[in-house]
Assembly symmetry: D2
Homo-oligomer: 342 residues x 4
Amino acid sequence: MRVGVLTGGGDCPGLNAVMRGVVRKGTQEYGYDFVGFRNGWRGPLTGDTMPLDISAVRGILPRGGTILGSSRTNPFKEADGVRRIKATLAKEEVDALITIGGEDTLGVATRLSGEFGIPCVGVPKTIDNDLSATDYTFGFDTAVGVATEAIDRLHTTAESHMRVLVVEVMGRHAGWIALHSGLAGGANVILIPEQRFDVGQVCGWIDARFKVRYAPIVVIAEGAMPKDGQMVLKDGSTDSFGHVRLSGVGEWLAKEIERRTGKEARTTVLGHTQRGGTPSAFDRWLATRFGLHAIDAVRDGDFGKMVALRGTDIVRVPIEEATAKLKTVDPALYAEAGVFFG
Amino acid sequence: MRVGVLTGGGDCPGLNAVMRGVVRKGTQEYGYDFVGFRNGWRGPLTGDTMPLDISAVRGILPRGGTILGSSRTNPFKEADGVRRIKATLAKEEVDALITIGGEDTLGVATRLSGEFGIPCVGVPKTIDNDLSATDYTFGFDTAVGVATEAIDRLHTTAESHMRVLVVEVMGRHAGWIALHSGLAGGANVILIPEQRFDVGQVCGWIDARFKVRYAPIVVIAEGAMPKDGQMVLKDGSTDSFGHVRLSGVGEWLAKEIERRTGKEARTTVLGHTQRGGTPSAFDRWLATRFGLHAIDAVRDGDFGKMVALRGTDIVRVPIEEATAKLKTVDPALYAEAGVFFG
Amino acid sequence: MRVGVLTGGGDCPGLNAVMRGVVRKGTQEYGYDFVGFRNGWRGPLTGDTMPLDISAVRGILPRGGTILGSSRTNPFKEADGVRRIKATLAKEEVDALITIGGEDTLGVATRLSGEFGIPCVGVPKTIDNDLSATDYTFGFDTAVGVATEAIDRLHTTAESHMRVLVVEVMGRHAGWIALHSGLAGGANVILIPEQRFDVGQVCGWIDARFKVRYAPIVVIAEGAMPKDGQMVLKDGSTDSFGHVRLSGVGEWLAKEIERRTGKEARTTVLGHTQRGGTPSAFDRWLATRFGLHAIDAVRDGDFGKMVALRGTDIVRVPIEEATAKLKTVDPALYAEAGVFFG
Amino acid sequence: MRVGVLTGGGDCPGLNAVMRGVVRKGTQEYGYDFVGFRNGWRGPLTGDTMPLDISAVRGILPRGGTILGSSRTNPFKEADGVRRIKATLAKEEVDALITIGGEDTLGVATRLSGEFGIPCVGVPKTIDNDLSATDYTFGFDTAVGVATEAIDRLHTTAESHMRVLVVEVMGRHAGWIALHSGLAGGANVILIPEQRFDVGQVCGWIDARFKVRYAPIVVIAEGAMPKDGQMVLKDGSTDSFGHVRLSGVGEWLAKEIERRTGKEARTTVLGHTQRGGTPSAFDRWLATRFGLHAIDAVRDGDFGKMVALRGTDIVRVPIEEATAKLKTVDPALYAEAGVFFG
């Protein structure tokens, strides 16, 4: 048995831990061989491989990123994509493919598995935690930890000075990182993409907070949007020097708060620091177990499935279940957090 | 409505976060008053109270320990204990009691609730994660994080020198901290109380590891025990200066390894560092949600219940369900980790 | 003897540690009393005080911010400022004043001490490390640590993806934080206010880095400026929606890099996270020793002086020595770092 | 020009950073070649080498340990040691040797340089910071940081429970780590090897601390010793099972405190966690600069010298200056810390 492995999509702490779990158990317990495909689907498309044995995965558990590299290449958008992948798999004598990735990567695996008979097992990956069918994805806990530590640091500044502090965190379509880090960090306002916010209400919370003698901390997901008519400068417009501007919503909100409340506001944009670096202990544990169970699925010939976390158990679900619907923040959960606003 | 709150048993990061959740929601949404009882069950026994309003819980979210203090006092072992507690509750006009604690504290709450009609709601707390009926308890993730970071640091020493490094972590009756931190840290041997270990096998793993050019890291729970006939020096014996000795199993194992393999071994005993300090983001989130749901149970008059985590949901279960049986590491889960041994 | 204490200017981890050192030694060894003035020079101007005894400083060593609050109030810009300060000091029976602050706060202390006979001892404070006469100021090591950890995290993303990562750190007039964190983090380009940068050269370093298969990390101080003709959007301009824009130089540079190299670039703006939170061990040690030596200077009647670090010793220097000249990065030191560029 | 590099003695975060500085500058600016000798002096003794070019040092800046390995081998204790080293250097065509190590390693370098004409440049290394002629050695700041974080965590436990917490830190002959981490962590007692402690006085401080309602934290260097007649169980004695016992002074002291004060005491032994893992930002900066200046010394032909930190400058001093005398804690500095005892 020879198993191919690839990682696709954005960076996420824990990718290497998955691979280590796959290769250690597959080699030691089942006697399988492995081959790594470089840079997501580009690897099997172009035949770009690297050796993936026990020595290759030694020491990678605590390392962020992916030793295989990644890409957003979609074989269905490439000429002759499926045929080229099949050719590579045949040439490399690969009997099964473990694909570690998010919505796009797993979507491709679903089709390759279902429509074209390529035996795929999926491992879900998204820093944003927005995949259905799994309680958590690895990388999310790390991102929340980085954001929470940043909010912790801002608290002392907020106490000593009378400035509004706005923290922009990841989350284009789902507010999980904002919600969890905002709750864990004791933020006074949390804004998520699932619910358009009213700048006036935000300023009301800010004023309320100042009245208890502390400056407010506002956590905002990068994908959060104000209500209609409270516009934010969009990507693609140009400034007076002709540069195309990507205006972060955090910076925009800080400006709006200054304009409306008369208080100073400062912005922190955590950016890629949330998705780099060593995974948290939780993420290493989850990613390792995903790896161990993914190779079990291969051994069982249980293709077209994805490993998932349910409570403390790792289970298998059809890949399409995970990708059919974005897992967004439940309004009731968001409302629950509202007791800490203001 | 006036609600009493107490924290019992050992220290655990997240206790303050629970109280903050209880008081914020109870005050703001339900208009309740609160009173804090100091030092676990000793508080209601002796009438030792402190104010517990919103200003009292401000800023405590990231702080370890408990602002109420704690103790291991058991009212059923005190003369006239139940009557004295009832008298205090009557005097303080307390309508319900939120008890945050482990097996012992919750066991008392079960009896007070069931046999004596005192309306109690429980919040489970144990650093060791060994309470049934909840997927996780707060504090556990923090402890695993501290232990994992220590193991991470030991790896570089293990690579540069040829020494066996033994790390003793918490876990008297259950090996959850050892298992999770050992997996997350990439330990080469993990020893837990649930399964007596064979020193010869441990030394076999150690020799195997040295053959791949690295020194081994052994994670051992404080309650792990060697097989019969491989004795460990017990608490209560005396050394040649007449001092009573408490010999940690980690130090004992390091000595045994040195004697049997001829390799140098060094011990790290993390001790109380695992249960102190700021809670991890996960533990703050879990503890906060436990607090929010505990006060909801009070509002619903749902006494004799404990809040618990199931997947990503907070549910209520009878308190006795949690305390009836210790949650130990499943042998299958321990076996799963074995692929990384040696 | 009764001693007043105030903290002025921007937030800086270690302020509380200084106060604790002052009060512990002053009370226990010299039998002095203390009074805290709130919010920088505004405290003695308006008579706003708080008690500052041993119990007030208990537990504040690891806490960022300042329990006294701070402000940028300058008594020389207030009507009748000096007279009002003198009146407060007389009313409070203060014999000496310990002023903890940066260039502005210490500048006021210099004049009050020299021209108006108010007995002041200074403690230097600047996150930017740009005060002359002291090797380091507390808070700087903490800021460098926060920035370095962020850069560490970005490395794995840089390795996995082919994006330029720009990190904007503090430093309006001096590049110490950028230089130290850039060196410690292994940045590929470091840009400081002391030397105008050439965007073309920056892009050259970026291209060179890509050739060794890794994406580059650019650390830029907020006060760094491109050469003439390579303009950056200034504060005060307005965007197409009429909002006043504050364009960070980091974001501007990322856009320029994208435009010139055709590579994607992403920005992280650490903002106030660099000046909040618990001080590093080094900063706590330095701040504590500054406090111990400041009260010694009071005891010696050595006014108009400031404590300073020279090697491993704490010495006293005239306050004006520290404020006369900004300590900027030596061109030779910046050139030394250049070996790592590209 | 071809330069050999070796690392000797115990593990220390920053060793890799030194090498990276040496190789980057030596290659890029001076066009030198490098060869790494494995495992300290054993490398040149046995001819065990590894390539050391720019690609070999890529990515090693944040990594603890040493990619060259280390040992405590002393060529003057090996038969024919000097001749064998000379033979290896001749065979490898090495023109100069950069030796990174502590007292022992540098002592060998001094003799090889002075008596046998082997051109050596030294880089001082000791986690304990006990080398004369340099303000600090790299690795020390990291160790102090690890110990301080552990003490921070213990504080919350100390506040919640009434237990004495003893932390044993590194420092066999000098108390720098204990002094700095004890001061930074707010310990109530600090015990160092330079001054024998009186257990009765320690218990006095402990009782005093309990009177202000908090439990005490005692930081003790592993080499600290009680006064005569207050003996500690020595290495080499045997317990009742015939095992040779190494009794840590921390555990011994905890037992003594329990016996004398009647309070419970718990011990944390940080062990090798203090010398492993990623170096702090300060240590990376210091180690990098040591590397850059060591290769400059080679270029200048300035052999028999060691780089050293003086204030913020890197200077060169004769190697024997550093090794002639252990740098111990000045009694005045220790007395200064005493204001926080009790």
